[in-house]
């Protein structure tokens, strides 16, 4: 049964709170009156979004509320959802002004243009599929990104948030696929090799010329696709028949001229003068737009870098080759004769490299560079094939280097070289994309007597630990009385024979079998390095880690130890103490000793990063153990309180979903109320006394892994 609608007065009360009218003075009375006329379901929808957006920014929520009642009858709810999320994303990325602009764009929303939106293909839904699709096609690897319209710069393909030209979802997807294929073909078949600005300058009306070139190229590329991807071409033709007007007669002539399937971009350029004179210029729904500036910018950034990379790679290849040859032959003074023959046939792009006439097998990265260069020039220019001399290039400039995490922080701030993680916004009920800027650092080792002191201090415990953990080691054992096995179980056989003599049934369990036990566990420890651990807790943590390592070395489990801390989302730091591959040696011991309290407790990014690392390790069981002193918290940020609790909870749920067993050890005695909720997906234990930690931790570990 439908609930009765809320009254204006009831809604006013909530709106006053969410929009903080005490400070903002928004006139919520009028909005409430407008909402009162709607059904309860519609009210809930709009109020829900106002509340969710208000947790991001109140002004945005207010603007949404003012517009939503009028939009609801003419806009799909799914689109309103997408619009609201998109606005918040834009706010996250570029701030209030651009978010407000996105908000205002919706005013120009024209119903007649959007009659198919209900069946539209949303970028979020199609991007993963089309991203893989375009990866499967030959040529340079192109990324798919969301933007204002469909276009490409030769390195990425940009698609609009919604493609909705047709009343059927499948057709809209096919349209998106056709668009992606045409944009891919621009890179693959040389459309982007044209110098558009120089070309435009030759004509009185550059825009007119470029539009006509784009149309000619679309005709040419369509013919190429007809050869390469006949199935897709069929679909394209079907959709064009429904969406686009017939080709004007003059253009039909151009179409015939360009449909040989072998025509290059020169053929289009040759027809451009004739096309320029034509009054009409066809446009197709699937063709996207041409953005000469973006293409030129991407190309300019790419050319020199790839030239340097290719020449360095070739030099490396030659060096390897020389080293393999006997010394007497390598003395030749003549420069090596390196030839590359591109083979662009049958939808495949391959390269043959010959050195002094003998074939050379290029590694994958060289092939990819060659592909990229070939697509830029239609050939491999000879100057690209002279291997780089010693010191000719500075490899630091040519190849992307991992950034020094500290250097980045000094000077002007930028996010270069960092890894970005999403964060769950409880208020918005949606992720904030690329929100946390995470960098890995190494703990500065402190070489003191901490390790030895700890072992001395806990000498009794260590002895006990050894005994307990050695017992845990699953020994190889003989399983007796098996139906199959390596050897005969004599006891069983004698019994069985006696049974047979006795007239009873003879057992067939006559073999022994060696049971080989393998403990196949990988465990990651995540240690709280926030400022609040200063003092006792820090020391207990470090001692606990020493004892844990001792125990784990006995068991032979693979393990990693990381510390986490951060100040705001822009500076999330993960401290390497021991990676999975590292040996437990003096260096690691010194790092454990060097663990010092840092800043705040932002936990979500750390859990997400560890989840990623753990999933790269091959193991039957993966365990993620978190050691913290309490509630998530960050500097002057919403992370304090429920937001942080919910994000941590979400990160733990994500870990559990990938098959990891999260386990939390916490020292927070005061706030037990939020723990069951936060650790929902994980099992957890609260330690009352910090001093128990070193002794307890190993015991806990033993329990959770057996």
């Amino acid at each position: 049964m439908a609930q009765p609608p809320l009254t204006a007065v009831e809604m006013e009360a909530s709106l006053h709170v969410w929009l903080e009218t005490e400070f903002t003075y928004f006139k919520v009375e009028q909005l409430a009156a407008e909402l009162a006329a709607l059904t309860r379901d519609e009210q809930d929808f709009i109020l829900g979004w106002i509340r969710r957006i208000a947790s991001t920014h109140i002004t945005l929520a207010w603007q949404f509320g003012r517009r939503a009642p009028a939009l609801l009858p003419r806009m799909e709810r799914r689109l309103l959802d997408a619009w609201a999320v998109h606005t918040c994303d834009v706010f996250d990325r570029t701030g209030l002004q651009s978010a407000l602009r996105v908000m205002e764009e919706v005013d120009s929303f024209d119903e007649t243009q959007h009659q198919n939106d209900a069946a539209g293909a949303l970028f979020e839904d199609i991007a993963p599929v089309l991203g893989n699709f375009v990866c499967g096609l030959s040529g340079r690897r192109l990324r798919i990104e969301e933007g204002d319209a469909a276009w490409t710069d030769g390195e990425r393909i940009v698609l609009p948030p919604l493609i909705a030209a047709l009343p059927d979802l499948d057709d809209n997807f096919q349209l998106a696929k056709a668009t992606v294929a045409l944009l891919w073909a621009q890179t693959r078949f040389g459309s982007l090799r044209v110098d558009f600005s120089e070309l435009g300058a030759r004509y009185a009306d550059p825009e007119r010329a470029l539009a006509r070139l784009h149309a000619l190229e679309t005709l040419r590329l369509t013919a190429r696709i007809a050869r390469e991807l006949p199935g897709l071409h069929r679909e394209m033709m079907r959709l064009r028949a429904r969406l686009d007007p017939e080709l004007p007669p003059a253009w039909r002539r151009f179409e015939t001229a360009l449909s040989t399937g072998q025509a290059t971009v020169d053929a289009s350029l040759a027809l451009l003068d004739a096309a320029y004179d034509e009054a009409e210029c066809p446009q197709w729904t699937d063709q996207g737009c041409l953005r000469p500036e973006a293409i030129a910018a991407a190309r300019a950034a790419r050319l020199n870098k790839e030239k340097a990379r290719l020449r360095i790679k070739l030099a490396e290849l030659l060096e390897e080759h020389e080293a393999a040859k006997p010394a007497s032959q390598s003395a030749a003074d003549t420069p090596p004769d390196l030839e590359v023959t591109p083979r662009d046939e049958n939808g495949r792009l391959d390269f043959e490299i010959t050195l002094d006439g003998a074939p050379l097998a290029p590694p994958d990265n060289v092939k990819q560079l060659l592909t990229s260069v070939y697509l830029d020039f239609g050939e491999i220019p000879p100057e690209y094939l002279t291997p780089a001399g010693d010191g000719e290039y500075d490899p630091n400039r040519v190849f992307d280097q991992p950034e020094d995490p500290d250097a980045v922080w000094h000077g002007t701030y930028h996010e270069k070289g960092a890894e970005l993680f999403p964060e769950w916004d409880h208020g918005r009920q949606h992720y904030r994309k690329n929100w946390c800027v995470m960098r890995e650092k190494t703990v500065a080792p402190v070489r003191d007597s901490f390790y030895r002191d700890t072992l001395d201090k806990y000498a009794g415990v260590v002895k006990q630990l050894r005994r307990k953990f050695e017992a845990l080691r699953d020994e190889n054992r003989l399983d007796k009385r098996q139906t199959q096995g390596d050897e005969i179980d004599l006891d069983a056989l004698i019994e069985a024979l006696a049974d047979a003599k006795d007239g009873r049934e003879m057992s067939d369990r006559l073999f022994v079998r060696l049971h080989r036990a393998e403990r196949n566990i990988a465990v990651a420890f995540l240690v709280d390095m926030s400022g609040s651990t200063k003092g006792w807790i820090n020391e207990a943590e470090r001692e606990a880690l020493v004892l844990l390592c001792e125990a784990l070395e006995l068991l032979g489990d693979r393990y990693a130890i990381y510390g986490f801390s951060g100040t705001t989302r822009k500076r999330c730091e993960l401290f390497r103490i021991k990676t999975f591959d590292e040996r437990y040696g003096d260096e690691v011991k010194a790092r454990i000793s060097g663990i010092r309290p840092q800043e705040y407790t932002r936990m979500g990014f750390a859990l997400r990063h560890m989840t990623k690392l753990l999933n790269q390790v091959e193991a039957k069981t993966r365990v993620l153990v978190t050691l913290s002193d309490g509630r998530p918290d960050d500097y002057f940020d919403v992370y304090r309180g429920q937001y942080g609790v919910e994000d941590t909870r979400m990160a733990l749920l994500e870990a559990a979903r990938t098959g990891i067993h999260p386990f939390c050890i916490t020292l927070d005695r005061d706030a037990r109320d939020y723990l069951p909720h936060m650790y929902g997906a994980a099992r957890y234990i609260i330690l009352d006394d910090v001093r128990q930690l070193p002794v307890k931790v190993t015991d806990i570990y033993r329990r959770i892994t057996t």
Partner: protein
């Protein structure tokens, strides 16, 4: 309990197995065979390693005994064991011993899957001793000159756990296999499945596309074997798009987005 021992003569291959050489692997294998050096076949799954072995066994007219290794394969599974028969114990040779005694070719498929200790039993067979010690019988069997040991291994599994030990791999002559060139693969698909050359060409182009996806979400592209499967389905009247979906897409991945992407690729081609 009744154990049946297959007569090695049953492992002789009478009809020539279809095989298209990619390079000089046949000559290399024959030379290694004459020189009594064991052979290691490397390469991705479904590129023709097992077929190559069958072809070579036919060519050399030796019985071929194939063991597919698994992670519970013990040394006794290869060498042999005592079984109980009536009131007595009877020794039964394992496949490796049978191959040695019969002077056949023993092919251990996907050797890395076997337990590490199992691999060690082949060591004395794989160097110039060419003997197989059988501890439980107190015997050492000497391999006749006709005997040949071959193992296969897929270096594509990027796992430290599934790597071949140096002490094992350095006893073998290695032959590297990869997917055949487009023209050759087209011929193989057409011959094996009976589809037309044009269709085989499209199938090979489709396979190339899935191989482009390797490393970006796909562990391994479509193998020649999968193409032959798809081709056979098509020859039997299934539409190409459905055949590619069932024989290729579903076989290489479970990921929903990837499945859809591969299907979109195949529907673009056919």
């Amino acid at each position: 309990m009744n154990a049946r021992t297959l007569d090695p003569a049953h492992h002789l291959i009478a009809k020539e197995p279809y095989y298209e050489p990619v390079g000089d692997e046949i000559q290399l294998f024959e030379a290694a065979y004459r020189q009594q050096i064991p052979v290691l076949l490397k390469g991705p799954t479904g590129c023709g390693k097992t077929r190559f072995m069958e072809h070579m066994a036919w060519r050399l007219k030796r019985p071929l005994i194939t063991v597919s290794c698994h992670d519970d394969l013990t040394a006794s599974d290869l060498v042999g064991r005592y079984l109980v028969k009536g009131g007595e114990t009877v020794w039964v040779d394992g496949p490796l011993t049978r191959a040695v005694r019969a002077g056949g070719i023993c092919y251990l498929d996907e050797i890395v899957e076997a337990r590490k200790d199992t691999m060690v039993v082949i060591h004395p067979l794989a160097d110039d001793r060419r003997t197989l010690p059988m501890e439980k019988l107190g015997q050492v069997v000497e391999a006749p000159p006709e005997f040949c040991l071959a193992i296969s291994y897929n270096p594509g599994y990027q796992s430290v756990l599934k790597d071949l030990k140096q002490s094992t791999r350095q006893r073998f002559v290695a032959l590297e296999f990869d997917y055949p060139s487009a023209a050759l693969e087209r011929r193989i698909v057409a011959t094996e499945s009976g589809v037309s050359d044009d269709l085989a060409d499209s199938l090979v182009r489709f396979a190339q596309m899935t191989r482009n996806l390797k490393g970006s979400g796909l562990e391994e592209g479509a193998s020649t074997r999968l193409l032959v499967h798809a081709g056979k389905l098509i020859a039997d009247g299934i539409s190409p798009v459905t055949a590619c979906k069932s024989a290729v897409a579903q076989a290489v991945t479970d990921d929903a987005d990837m499945l859809k992407a591969i299907q979109e690729l195949s529907s673009s081609i056919f």
